[in-house]
Symmetry: C2
């Protein structure tokens, strides 16, 4: 009995074949009963890393950190997978895959130019890397052209809201209004911290966005109005259990990627604390992470 | 909105008056509804520290660590509150109280001699320190004499089970059998790790012991049969949510004290991770820690 071990489970995930089992969706009824059998339900929430967290470290260090965190889910920033030279993108992406990781998204990638060449280069980059989703920061103007590429490449675009300072998309609600009539592969990367700072309840935003939620960037704030107040997840005001519950309710199939922007030269203590808290939340909800 | 901040709440607790609010008991029905109002129920589980965790550090370092962990609940080992000289016990205890801490228990204290003098000295020590509970390691023989002192001093004794190597009390079930007819202030300090290694389900033991659970020593094991396999809480096989659920169900009014025995020269990384996980579990169950 109790032979299922959190760490071992994650290690098995890293080895391959069974990763999809972690995404099986479970009802909240099942969750309520799970205490009685010591929480043996696989978690419907996949915890990953936005590699921007480790922007001051190279790819080898990133691989080491990911292994220490026991997660295979990686949202790669270009600092860890440069866009040029183009012929190096595929082998560099392969290095991460060979290390056991699943490349879930690339970005954040800016789309400031309403030009085919600029956009095509970025979709070719993701295609070469075998990455199915772009975390994007477009202008409103570029959206129709972006949609054309989403259809041509079958690569999604999750528009990342950046809070009150973002003149294009401060809140996921701004994203939703803009993408309503576009291809369903265009949606939101809800950054819960920037969302809260924009005055939008991240839980309500998730429930409203539903199938348009394509990615989550997770962080926490000691003060929901102040960017500089970022803390480890669990130490602030972010309603993490309600966020997870909302994601489960909308049958979210994407990832929850920690984007820990503080202490860039020594992020691991806060990252480890954040992961422990989030895994605890899932355990408390009746899931085995 | 969301002005309740985890850290601030704990800081307020440290300042005094409102500590008892944390012990309000909430039904599991309340817990199930708590997601909808973003988990504003105070936690019925009080997380503390068994200072044995910091045995290689002095009292000043212990105070610093406790403040970093934002918990006021302290189960003091004699390395941090020496039994002699007797006239120094009260002022040394006052130093911890002045730093904002609640001295919940002393120990583990061994009761190997069936002699009044030895036992009285240890009860006088707790009386001088104003500590209401001894975490005890007695022999079976000494129990009747121990009970006499429990009644005289109105200081409880929570018998700490030490696993298969313990010839007196390997499991809380051995404690329960021995204390059944004794004063209700004598009961169990259930060490969940040693309990599991003794082949007893800690959740079942908590439910069986009910009002005889006077303290919990929390830890986790990668392998439930191996003492050397201790890991940070959340990284092993310990059913933490089921343990918390059982404690809430029995209306447990004591503390859950982390006893992290590994890396004695650098315990904080694992202690911080353990606390983050346990606070996450409580958040996932609908409580605000």
């Amino acid at each position: 009995m109790r032979s299922m071990n959190y760490s071992m489970t994650r290690r098995n995930l890293l080895r391959g074949g069974t990763m999809l089992t972690a995404s099986a969706f479970l009802s909240s009824t099942t969750s309520a009963l799970a205490y009685d059998n010591h929480s043996t339900n696989s978690s419907p929430i996949r915890l990953g890393i936005a590699s921007y967290t480790f922007r001051n470290f190279d790819a080898d260090h990133l691989i080491g950190f990911m292994k220490e965190l026991n997660t295979p889910y990686l949202n790669l920033k270009d600092v860890h997978l440069p866009m040029t030279p183009a012929d190096q993108v595929a082998p560099r992406a392969a290095k991460f895959r060979d290390a056991g990781f699943k490349l879930t998204a690339a970005g954040t990638i800016t789309f400031a130019k309403d030009e085919d060449d600029d956009i095509r280069m970025k979709f070719e980059y993701c295609k070469a890397a075998g990455i199915p989703l772009i975390i994007g920061a477009p202008t409103h103007q570029v959206l129709p052209r972006l949609e054309k590429f989403v259809k041509e490449y079958n690569i999604g675009v999750a528009i990342h809201n950046h809070g009150p300072e973002d003149k294009n998309f401060p809140s996921p609600l701004d994203v939703l209004a803009a993408v309503e009539k576009l291809d369903p592969r265009i949606g939101c990367c809800i950054d819960v911290g920037h969302t809260m700072r924009a005055g939008t309840d991240p839980v309500a935003a998730i429930r409203k966005a539903g199938p348009r939620v394509l990615d989550i960037h997770m962080k926490d704030l000691a003060d929901g109005t102040k960017k500089e107040s970022q803390v480890a997840v669990g130490d602030g005001v972010m309603p993490v259990p309600a966020i997870f519950k909302a994601l489960i309710d909308i049958h979210y199939a994407g990832n929850v990627d920690l984007e820990y922007e503080i202490f860039p030269d020594n992020p691991m203590p806060g990252v480890i604390k954040s992961f422990a808290f989030m895994r605890g939340v899932l355990a408390g909800m009746g899931y085995k992470g």
